[in-house]
Amino acid sequence: MLLFLALPLFTMVAVAFGSVDPLFGSPIPVWNPLRWDGSTVAGVLGQLVRPEGAFFAPTLRTVSYTAIATGLCLAIGYPVAYTVSRHAHRWKGALLGVLLAPFFISYLMRMLAWVNLLRDDGLVNRVLEALPFAQPQQWLGGKPITVILGLVYGYIPYMILPLFGSLDAVDRSLIEGARDLGARPSEVFRRITWPLSRPAVVAGVLIVALPITGDYYTADLLSGSPRTTMLANQIDFLLHARNAGPTVGAALVCLLAAALILPMLWYLRLVGDAAIERDGGTG
């Protein structure tokens, strides 16, 4: 365990702070933290934050795509989780099964389905052609909207599941109590359902946003154009490149990890608290 998790992470840091073999162009990891050379990491950081830097635009895209996609996941997913947990009655099990289905269908298979639909002569464009007010589009030609919707399509199940779990656990007597005390439906939602589901909303947002920042295959499949390159695409490209590529790529991963460590810990804390509450209640 330690070997296959701690060592790789340390290696990554060592490569990032290491140097490049001048002859073979291969990265030389430096193991001693005292001899680490911060110039690559500092250089990459400079490229990230300065507006003319090479990684500035991908960073901006990563942040905005992640924010928009996560927001859409929540906006689309919350009503679905709410409906299935509250109104489904005896269909709940079956509907939950359908909500879980995407987990068992390969992500790539789901993307392949969209690649087929969005081709220039694909079904989506045929429908648009038939409509009077719409124009067929080159969906796969590097449109941000295609990438963002692809991300929403890919990750929304991860949002719905925690929401469903939490909404399903809301004590019905609280809702009945509030109604008996004269709360209007919107008030019941605002003052009981929403506050009780808030930890799950935060957990859902984090568990969707974290993998999106590390996603390069969605953008690659649905666009492949430099106009939609995200940070993860840069990492993918750099690590497969020669010379300084892997070193710069590793530095980029380290910086991304440093930026994401707080959200990651936040999520673990949130889920850990929920687990303690749950087990404390039943055990």
């Binding site: 909500l99 992500y107 991860y158 599941l161 993998p211 996603d215």
Partner: protein, 298 residues
């Protein structure tokens, strides 16, 4: 807009009644989430080369075409076998390891197990890309005795997937306390015997559930399998789809994806049946297999 808001209000006025707007929304979502995949599967049964619409019914892209079907194109068939091989290998190693890890975490307190647990949890929320890159650098720069390819992919997947059995089995152990083991030992069993005959049978449904989840998750994995892939023979179905999707000219790729999906469904159905039988036998494990999965995600 006013119609919509009135519908919402009507829906919320009676939380257990029919909420039409919410249902329309939910059905729209469900069809959006599944219909594209169903179309992709339908296209794999086409009798023509069309990738965009359903044309006739045949199995040429699955089996019958002598050179272009998913089964008869060497690189597609090898991808299918590689996915299955990796998933099986991962289940066989990650599940026993995970169960042992869960038992250890349940008994053994102190900083070492706590940090191991933390590291594992962290690996689970980390973007998979980071694990892939980190392991890639290790196998290509440091532990060069581990070849990129099946060995590297299996190690990566085992490391990552081990979390499922740990979480699921540990949740079961927490509700179990020590009484089964103590009872078995009171009846004269040795500690190992108590574990084997007292605890493991009770954990069996949780173990089956996690094995099922690990298999379906590992067979679909793209990021780790792709970073740690070596020669062309170690390419999995997901890698194949990734590299061929945009340039595909026949529905064979759809057929390949459908084959993998079919495998997952068969494993889920078999695992679900086994789970139900086991759960019925042991009274302490109530709840359906889905509960374990939801608990592991939420």
């Amino acid at each position: 807009m006013s119609v919509v808001s009135r519908r919402v209000a009507a829906g919320m006025a009676n939380p257990w009644g029919r909420a039409r707007f919410l249902w329309v929304w939910t059905w729209l979502y469900l069809s959006w989430s599944l219909v594209p995949v169903l179309i992709a599967i339908r296209i794999s049964f086409n009798s023509t080369r069309s990738l965009v619409e359903a044309q006739g019914w045949s199995l040429i892209w699955w089996f019958s075409h002598p050179t272009l079907s998913a089964w008869n194109r060497p690189e597609l068939r090898s991808a299918l076998f590689q996915s299955m091989r990796l998933a099986t290998l991962t289940v066989l190693i990650a599940v026993p390891l995970g169960v042992a890890f869960a038992l250890a975490l349940d008994r053994w307190r102190g900083p070492l197990p706590a940090s191991a647990n933390f590291l594992m949890a962290l690996s689970w929320v980390m973007p998979e890309l980071m694990i892939g890159v980190a392991l890639f650098l290790v196998f290509s720069e440091v532990l060069t005795i581990v070849p990129l390819g099946t060995a590297g992919q299996a190690i990566g997947l085992i490391t990552f997937e081990m979390t499922y059995p740990v979480i699921i089995v540990r949740a079961r152990l927490l509700s179990l306390e020590q009484r089964y083991e103590e009872a078995a030992m009171d009846l004269g069993a040795s500690p190992a015997g108590a574990l084997w005959r007292g605890v493991i049978p009770v954990l069996l449904p949780a173990i089956v559930a996690s094995a099922m989840i690990v298999f379906v998750d590992a067979i679909d994995d793209f990021v780790i399998a792709s970073w740690l892939s070596g020669p062309a023979s170690s390419e999995t179905v997901a890698i194949r789809i990734y590299s061929d999707a945009r340039g595909a000219v026949t529905p064979a790729l759809n057929a390949l994806g459908s084959m993998m999906l079919g495998t997952s469904i068969v494993v889920l159905a078999a695992g679900g049946m086994l789970y139900r039988r086991l759960a019925r036998r042991s009274a302490t494990t109530d709840g359906a297999g889905l509960t374990d999965f939801v608990a592991s995600q939420a």
